[in-house]
Symmetry: C2
Subunit: 418 residues, 2 copies
Amino acid sequence: MTITAVRVTPIAFRDPPLLNVVGVHQPYALRSIVEVETGDGFVGLGETYGDTAMREGLTAVAPHLVGLDPFDLAGLRATIDRHLAAGTDAGLSVAPGTSRRNLPVKVDAAFEVAFLDLQGQLLGRPLVDLLGGAVRGRVPYSAYLFYKFARHRSQPEDDEWGAALDPDGIVAQARTMIERYGFESIKLKAGVFEPDAEADALRALAAAFPGAPLRIDPNGGWTVATSLRMAAQLEGVLEYLEDPAPGLDGMAEVARQVGQPLATNMVVTGFEHLPEAIRLGSAQVILADHHYWGGLRATQHLATICRTWGLGLSMHSNSHLGISLAAMTHVAAAIPNLTYACDTHYPWQEDEVVEGGKLTLERGALRVPDGPGLGVRLDRDALARLHEAYRTCGIRDRDDVAEMRAYRPDWTGALPRF
Amino acid sequence: MTITAVRVTPIAFRDPPLLNVVGVHQPYALRSIVEVETGDGFVGLGETYGDTAMREGLTAVAPHLVGLDPFDLAGLRATIDRHLAAGTDAGLSVAPGTSRRNLPVKVDAAFEVAFLDLQGQLLGRPLVDLLGGAVRGRVPYSAYLFYKFARHRSQPEDDEWGAALDPDGIVAQARTMIERYGFESIKLKAGVFEPDAEADALRALAAAFPGAPLRIDPNGGWTVATSLRMAAQLEGVLEYLEDPAPGLDGMAEVARQVGQPLATNMVVTGFEHLPEAIRLGSAQVILADHHYWGGLRATQHLATICRTWGLGLSMHSNSHLGISLAAMTHVAAAIPNLTYACDTHYPWQEDEVVEGGKLTLERGALRVPDGPGLGVRLDRDALARLHEAYRTCGIRDRDDVAEMRAYRPDWTGALPRF
């Protein structure tokens, strides 16, 4: 069983005008869909970032995977090492998804999932069985709330979610999302408004959903002083405080002085960050993300590290479709010490690229797909449609800052904001 | 594919009178052979320690594995958690192989290998493919030299190796071992004679085998002061100094003052030891051993930790036969950052329990077995013979101290010796 063809297809799907500390989501989010085919007709799937660097990295490696055995993850890594160098980033605080520094790791992750999908298909077993089997049959996700505009500039009418720009809007959004999907934990993407206003929203959520674990994530948009002030305000309200301040040092300074655990997907985004983060005590919860940690196996290694050093573990998400959700669910199902519900942007996406349309979240959780491999198959019509959207949407790299500048010409996206 | 039967067979095989810091090997070494059978006729193999506690732990768990799927390593772990509690140890410095503290982890490891063997057989692929594939086709081992008596008290004649009680004896032993197996690295088990005499042996080896990487392992038998004196004497001679002084603190004190890396399989024997060991800088090389680290997957996690924190990685060994050697070789083949040749006692064992007799080391390395699963099968006649040896040998727990007391009635085995 060897690989006979590899395809990388960039796609774009509709994304609402969700606000964050650096700006606002563009009308389309980009992804790359990876297909790895074997002679005997199996197709392994992967889904990852769709920015230019990522697309170039994937296509640089793809032809060299022909002839490899899908069980040869070591060969995959060696092939990537031969054909793709890590790049450098212009800015200091580039998000892991768009960084060029970890490009080989991200390319490895995308193809590893496709290889594991093939392994599962060959075995006729769900992918999780190749990760040691499931410790849970359902993986809990959290309601991922965003401040948002009612519509994109280009849209004539409000989207179905409408605006959420104050505590009432956020509570209404949470209510809709929880009614639809049954989430039991709630996360608020923050760093958008004055911190006190965001704390009001948190308290409104706590009042509206008593007992639901709450998180707030200003994406490093607060200074250490602001973080300390907010942590004091939110003492007892939060299960964790995510990335309040920038940098390993900033986070460590906050952590030393507050009661609740700090979580991060910004200052610890690769194995190389762990020694210093642990030494400084910069975070107490790591938000894993197989897309940039190097794949599903690497995520399991990270989980062992978290257990060994007494760190909590949850999962980060970017805008994604069903292939990524399936992969996230298989690996989360295999990790004993998944101590918090995972994040997912999935409810914000109307489009889908897998057969049968959107996967179904019940009581806030996704049942581990029980088909062979990932348990999802590509809908080729949807793929063609979303590729056409990529071709025509005019977006080639995610740029929330530029998008916000269309609303506020003086917008810089500089951090920390508050 | 579910498990229909599990067998645990204690065996004893001949072992030469090898000397170490606490005493001398008994005439027989003990192991447990694990067989996990599925309805469709596959038999997965595991090999581990054969002491009373281990045998009891394995047999307490064995019947409860019937009905499990061999891909369900999570179910294996859960079953062990339900039916086996960690024990406590009387002494402070009990070897990981005979400790009751890590009994569940060792039981997990033994069955995990058998489960993975079954997975490989079902797939028709070598076990290493289930670990991500091989980064090397041959796994290098080191010549493991021992001071030794010419024969056990009970033997009428010298064994084929004869005595090795001084530098000439050690060099002669190395020459025989390297002629037979082609080893390129050399390890001397030490802590037996005055440290200066052992340093003489090391220097004699360096002169006789120029360029061969050398290691010495006094098993924590030296004080910190002795360790520092010996490290200074052996500067430039050793690739690493293994477990010179006892305890995480003792090792850290030595490490702070010497140039060469310290290796350990005594002060870091489980994930729970890593945070403190890394904080203190107690060791620069970890000697992995899947038998007590929790299995082959856990050994891969350990390898990631070593790479992440910049620690070297090699492999520890106890007296063992071919099932263990095959398992060690599969996992070592899958680990990119195996930075040193592995240890093995294998050349000291005449007996074997696998079909075809002893596996063949060439140029100091074992080629990764390419048959399905572990690539070794049980020789049932040999198993019966070695089980009979267990039944009649009178040994139920390894006790090098008591064995030495037969030669030297005043022997205590207390550490540090020098």
